[in-house]
């Protein structure tokens, strides 16, 4: 089966988010780029499916020319082909993104990619919708939040966590699935994988940008997220102070043994 996996290039932010002076973007002069762990897991799942039962994995991204780098990272994990929906660097909203992805798939004919996978949500903008919009545009069923997947013939079974248990779904292919990290443990890229990725051809399409009804005005780092921890001490010598603090928090009373006033509960 041929599987399409959608991934999004996002800045690799570490300990602190720094914004550009105009507050419009995350400052990426010092950072690299990556994709969401959800999407990396979707690629791994797709690769495993094709390893078991044949077919190919195509990775697709909509982003600036540099997003080819993320496609090559995914090719190194075992994907076979890449499609870049190249933009001029402007931010695309979820409605336009989904329309461009659906159009690219639609052009390949109704039989293309019986299984389309996406992350449950993009790491940066977290819109929780691109996969679902792609599914509607293509007239396919969609399940999201998926942490376990089985494909048997034309039937896809998928499970996600819900409350303390699981919710299961069964849909007919072709379908769209939104994946969450934890569905598998992605492999590390192999050396031959990296070499193959370097040489692989990437198809480039250039969809036209469209305005979204949701318009960014500015970004800001939430207030109150920077304080300074008070240092209780160094090494094991700090343990008495640590015990005092835990005691103040009321955490040192044996749990579930005695209630208030020492009465056995």
């Amino acid at each position: 089966m041929d599987v399409l996996v959608c991934v999004k290039r996002v800045p690799m932010v570490g300990g602190k988010v720094v914004l550009t002076a105009d507050g419009q973007e995350v400052d990426t002069r010092m950072s690299g780029f990556t994709v969401s762990p959800h999407e990396e897991c979707a690629v791994e799942e797709a690769v495993q499916i094709t390893e078991r039962s044949g077919g190919t994995v195509t990775v697709l991204t909509l982003g600036p020319p540099e997003a080819a780098e993320q496609l090559r990272d995914m090719l190194a994990l075992g994907a076979h082909r890449g499609i870049l929906l190249e933009t001029d660097g402007r931010e695309w909203g979820p409605v336009a993104t989904a329309a461009a992805i659906a159009a690219a798939v639609g052009e390949l004919g109704p039989g293309a990619f019986p299984l389309i996978m996406a992350g449950n949500e993009a790491a940066d903008t977290g819109g929780y919708q691109v996969g679902i919009r792609v599914a509607h545009a293509l007239g396919r069923p969609c399940v999201t939040g998926i942490k376990r997947l089985e494909v048997a013939g034309d039937v896809l079974r998928a499970w996600r966590e819900y409350g303390g248990g699981q919710e299961g779904f069964e849909v007919a292919l072709p379908a769209v699935v939104g994946v969450k990290e934890g569905i598998n443990l992605p492999r590390y890229p192999s050396l031959p994988g990296r070499l193959r990725a370097k040489r692989a051809e990437i198809t480039v399409l250039r969809p036209a940008w469209q305005a979204d009804g949701l318009r960014k005005v500015a970004l800001r780092v939430p207030a109150g997220s920077a304080q300074r921890a008070s240092v209780l001490g160094h090494g094991a010598e700090a343990v008495p102070e640590l015990m005092r603090v835990l005691g103040e928090m009321g955490l040192l009373a044996p749990v579930g043994v005695t209630g208030r006033d020492g009465v056995v509960a």
Partner: protein
């Protein structure tokens, strides 16, 4: 602008209003207020509940009144049992059309996020996910603040649409809860019923719920979480953390480095792509404090850190810190707790 109705998808938790839905109601309530100068008035706020078989507890209707709802709408249809995301979206879409609703709001839970995304796809309207605040401007647009990077960053945005579709972050400050009507008022909102017309395709995706996994404390709700990161050094290092967690009635949570190394399973991961926790105490050991990790523990009441690096980013997000090797500090803490317990 006359005040138009606002719909809020409400989820129940063991028969009560789910906490996330209470937050969604707070935001929905702020949208139901007509901002036009001179005539501020509260419009209708309809709480929408799907798939309730039989009677809903009267306490829910009372609780909804306290949260500012003016009506409870129970949606049911033939073949609609349990969770069916497209059918739920269809129900909201048709109800919104019937009431010419100004906005449809849901909590950003797994169900709420998914259903609103389907509403967006069915109607072609934009959806603003994970809002923490929203207000009508009076000129037909909405001013929003929404989370990016799971809350590590906020986006101020303008939404322009004939009907605002939005989800409310599950960890958003719960709005002005002091403005709630007193519980003693005792009056529940009136209950109405609505039956959407569904097509077969709307019921293609339906959940079958399997039993709770049961047993053990859950990471999401634990009162104490002992966190371990790369600094733990390997799978063996977690024995001491487990022991400490056991003594404090808590559970172990880990960073992504730990799960991607395969040291611990992903269900123990705290963070943006793991579990969000809200314990009394998060004791983070050998964790640097990447924003994606901190996004999962920003609701912790207290954060205490054990780290060899006094300049680790997590130091600026914690209440207390012990500078040192966790391999020394944790066993010493375990011994001290055992000693105190022995004396008691």
């Amino acid at each position: 602008m006359s005040s138009r109705a606002v719909l809020c998808l409400v989820e129940l938790d063991n028969g009560d209003l789910a906490a996330a839905s209470q937050r969604a109601l707070a935001v929905a309530r702020s949208l139901a207020v007509d901002p036009s100068p001179g005539s501020p008035s509260a419009g209708a706020l309809t709480a929408v509940v799907f798939g309730v078989a039989g009677q809903l507890a009267e306490s829910v209707a009372v609780d909804l009144a306290r949260h500012g709802a003016t009506e409870l709408c129970l949606v049911s249809a033939e073949g609609l049992t349990g969770y069916a995301p497209v059918a739920w979206a269809r129900g909201l879409e048709q109800l919104a059309a019937q009431r010419t609703a100004a906005a449809v709001v849901a909590a950003a839970t797994d169900h709420g996020s998914e259903v609103l995304a389907h509403c967006g796809a069915l109607t072609g309207l934009p959806v603003a996910a994970n809002c923490v605040a929203a207000a009508a401007t009076g000129d037909g647009t909405w001013q929003l603040v929404r989370q990016r990077w799971a809350g590590s960053l906020l986006e101020e945005a303008v939404l322009e649409a004939p009907c605002a579709l939005l989800t409310v972050a599950a960890d958003a400050a719960a709005g002005d809860l002091t403005a709630l009507a007193p519980a003693t008022a005792g009056h529940g909102v009136p209950v109405v019923k609505f039956t959407p017309s569904l097509q077969e395709a709307d019921l293609r995706v339906r959940a079958t719920e399997s039993a709770e996994q049961g047993g053990g404390l859950s990471l999401a709700t634990a009162r104490v979480v002992i966190g371990g990161g790369r600094g733990v050094g390997g799978p063996e290092g977690f024995a001491a953390l487990e022991e400490l967690a056991g003594l404090l009635g808590g559970v172990v949570g880990v960073s992504r480095v730990v799960t991607s190394q395969g040291w611990r399973p992903h269900r123990q991961q705290v963070g943006q792509t793991g579990t969000k926790i809200s314990p009394e105490l998060y004791l983070a050991c050998g964790i640097s404090g990447a924003i994606q990790h901190m996004a999962g523990c920003q609701s912790a009441r207290h954060i205490v850190v054990v780290n060899t690096d006094p300049d680790a980013p997590i130091m600026s997000r914690a209440d207390y810190a012990v500078i040192g090797d966790l391999n020394e500090v944790i066993p010493a803490l375990v011994a001290a707790i055992r000693e105190t317990a022995g004396q008691g």
